[in-house]
Symmetry: C2
Subunit: 501 residues, 2 copies
């Protein structure tokens, strides 16, 4: 039987979880529904909610219940996992004074709006003062979180990917650059240019939405417990397993953008819909890390959505929804879904070059936190890194340093989780294939339920019961490594471009 | 200079206001956006927010700041009005234990959902257990609010219309029944039947929305600081003056329902958009009472929207947006906007019979709180009152006792404010006409700004600076009385039906 201290701890935690969920609803509303003049008031609301959450997380009663419960629950139990995750969050919050937490919440909300305006006007100067303020506040927060022993940037990474450090990421990104750059080079030197016209044309947005909804529903996103809305940036807001909201946007001349965006967000959404309902409003009821979250979106977007077998099922659906693609064949389309072509926009980048976009951001963030770069120099530094890693430079900051929403909400340390997601999804997919047998045959028939069930069983239902590392090892039988991912990249480069690097 | 206790009071109050606004956003979202399975989690969120608001309103620090400030601010000042309204709210909340407040919030959220299901299924039994629970909790709350001296139902009225009592309303409704019933009878006995075909036809919903938006914008609703969404019940959610959200619904065969619904909610919305921005997040920054609120919606819906002069401007707009009404003339249409025809649904009722619908609800609520009626007998009692007052009975509870949302959120004491709104709007309109001169000429030309400016000046900008009674007296030069309203009703019956009662 659970101890009374443990029960009290969970009761108090439920309020904390509710404040977090409320804040997510307000963010979703701001992004998809709110009239723009509502922004100043909304910033104040978010600051108040962040302050209240801080107050509740640092309340003596919660701390006392936690400590008493820790002495009472059996090691290795569910209860112990609850307390471990609870303590993690409480310790993080205890280190950040309430005034700073409120100031950050407000700066992020106003920063988000000025980022939007700056991107529209393609003028970094409109965003710079807010970004400087956000960076200063985040650096201060990182220092407090890291304490005397830790490193500030690690403390931010830890907020998205518990336990992850810059020291682990540096060699990982070095390996990726070392193995991916030759592939990109070999592709370029092959002189092969993939004809992408099969993915292009004129596709009315409403038809693209209907197509995307159809595919998302087919792979398993539950629209009765979720919704999809237009937004400037695709994202997923998992309020609770019964209310998961994804957003989309489209390019009228290329159906890949909306489709893969929707499959990606639906992947996030299915993870949220599969989280353990018996642990709602508890510390381990939520996703374990952004890397694992990203593995779920990327698995459906890239490993399923860009496979030949998936398109044997999907091609007739495409024809049905987008008459502009009626003449498209599998042989013409498939290579266009697996290009290796340097480009400027991360969210539109192909998987063959995606990790290089992440590498740019990781290196810039490291430089900012090492004091080797200031916010005002970001546009130039951004362009220089793109030139170096991708051989391209943007003609407008809207397609450069302003393209991503993340820094506007203070999300330093977030980007590396995209690449972690790539590594995790590849390793999970190999493991799932070993269990499910001929996965290609299932995808060809549009039978996605067995794969989703495997993910539910091995990933979703565990919430944060295990750390991300443990979860991956339990699901795949080995620690996380880049091998499966790099093998997949090499295989695709060979199949599409006939190159071996 | 403001005292430090006063400043601290306002700082603490801002958090309370933010929690209230957050709760409104969550309600709006629930009504217009949320997938239905999200309901249980939403109920918990609302309960948590209500509990936190209760905690903040009853916090020692707020109470102390209030008491110290009360000893320091000059009587009759703005500051004194802030403290008066603050104390009013704090006293109300102090009397309700936090556990009851949380339970009520949760019961209302789940009750709202079961009301919706019950209405869809036309089955009162689906709603009855939740309504019984809500009524029991509200009765308990009312007893606590009223204390030893007061009367429970008055305490609930006071929550919507500060200072209003059953004892004041009983003779008022008696007068209205006494003066309106002869008009309804005379109309029926005249044998005149207004031809309403000018308002009927087939009107696509999207065209009705465009028409409604056009009219709402013309009368002054600011869509850059607001929005309109489809919902099962029209309502206005004024989050803050920069973010006001109205909802609509339509009948495809009759354009009056959507148009007047939108004008009504736009009237509420313009009040919210006109509230004093310098007093945002303070006690007197919000609307003074629901009666005054309702006067703003009804003034635009009924006194403007159903007038001949308005339609001289609006008819071409109607023709433009609704081709199905292209042959409609002013002489054919105007009587159809001013019928006196008993009907079943309050929100679709004509102004000639509207107050009788309210009288039904007022009498049922009085009976419930007097212990003369139980929730389980409401459907029969409802039908009996409709038979008595309007000469009609519904074939389905969906058109009977289940038609209104109010009781599902515990809104006992709310309905009478609709009728108060009728009395106030008539009195305001007469006063505005005296100042603006030929108001009809302005309406004919579609010049609505002077009337809105008069309302901004005399009503909106004051927030809750004055009580509703003081506000009406300051704006119109006399205490609230039913005379102007009854004169308007008699005039219309004579013009449309040729009867004098």
């Amino acid at each position: 039987m659970a101890s009374s201290a443990y029960v009290r701890f969970l009761e108090l935690w439920a309020e904390v979880a509710d404040l977090g969920q409320t804040s997510s609803i307000l963010s979703w509303d701001q992004e998809t529904q709110m009239p723009a003049p509502g922004n100043p008031a909304r910033a104040k609301l978010q600051a108040t909610l962040a302050g209240l959450r801080h107050e509740k997380l640092t309340a003596t009663e919660l701390g006392d219940a936690l400590e008493r419960a820790e002495g009472e629950v059996p090691p290795g139990s569910i209860e112990a996992a609850q307390l471990r995750e609870g303590r993690r969050e409480i310790e993080r919050v205890r280190r950040v004074p309430r005034a700073l937490a409120k100031e950050l919440a407000e700066a992020q909300t106003t920063g988000h709006e000025s980022w939007r305006r700056a991107r529209e006007a393609a003028d970094f100067a409109l965003f710079r003062p807010d970004l400087e303020r956000i960076f200063d506040l985040k650096r201060e927060e990182a220092r407090l979180l890291a304490g005397d022993q830790g490193r500030p940037y690690d403390a931010l990474l830890d907020g998205f990917e518990p336990g992850m450090t810059e020291a682990q990421l540096v060699p990982l990104f070095a390996t990726l650059r070392e193995r991916l750059s030759p592939i990109v080079r070999a592709v370029r030197e092959s002189g092969v240019v993939v004809d992408e016209s099969a993915a292009k044309g004129r596709f009315p947005r409403e038809a693209q939405l209907a197509f995307g909804r159809r595919v998302a529903a087919a792979i398993g996103f539950d629209f009765t417990a979720g919704r999809i809305d237009l937004a400037p940036h695709p994202f997923c807001s998992g309020l609770n397993p019964n209310d998961v909201r994804i957003t989309w946007r489209a390019l009228e001349h290329d159906f890949r953008s909306a489709l893969f965006g929707i499959m990606h967000e639906a992947g996030h959404g299915m993870y949220e819909q599969g989280l353990p309902r018996q642990w709602e409003r508890t510390p381990i009821g939520s996703a374990v890390s952004l890397g694992v979250h990203e593995s779920q979106s990327r698995l459906w977007e890239n490993l399923v959505g860009r496979s030949r077998s998936f398109w044997e099922w999907c091609l007739p659906v495409l024809h049905e929804h987008l008459p502009g693609a009626s003449g498209v064949t599998l042989d013409a389309l498939w290579p266009a879904l697996n290009t290796v072509k340097p480009s400027l926009i991360r969210v539109e980048a192909d998987p063959g070059t995606y990790d290089l976009h992440v590498a740019v951001r990781f290196e810039l963030e490291r430089a900012l936190f090492a004091g080797d770069l200031v916010v005002g120099d970001l546009p130039e530094a951004w362009d220089a890194r793109y030139e170096e890693l991708l051989g391209l430079s943007a003609s407008s900051v809207a397609d450069g340093v302003l393209q991503d929403i993340h820094w506007s909400f203070g999300g330093f340390g977030y980007f590396p989780t995209y690449t972690l997601g790539n590594l995790i999804d590849a390793q999970l997919f190999v493991a799932a294939t070993a269990v499910l047998g001929d996965l290609d045959a299932l995808l060809r028939r549009g039978e996605f339920a067995p794969l989703l069930a495997w993910l539910r069983e091995n990933v979703h239902r565990h919430g944060s019961r295990w750390s991300a590392g443990e979860l991956v090892e339990r699901a795949t039988g080995k620690p996380l490594a880049p091998d499966d991912y790099l093998a997949e990249r090499a295989r695709l480069a060979e199949e599409v471009y006939g190159v071996r690097a």
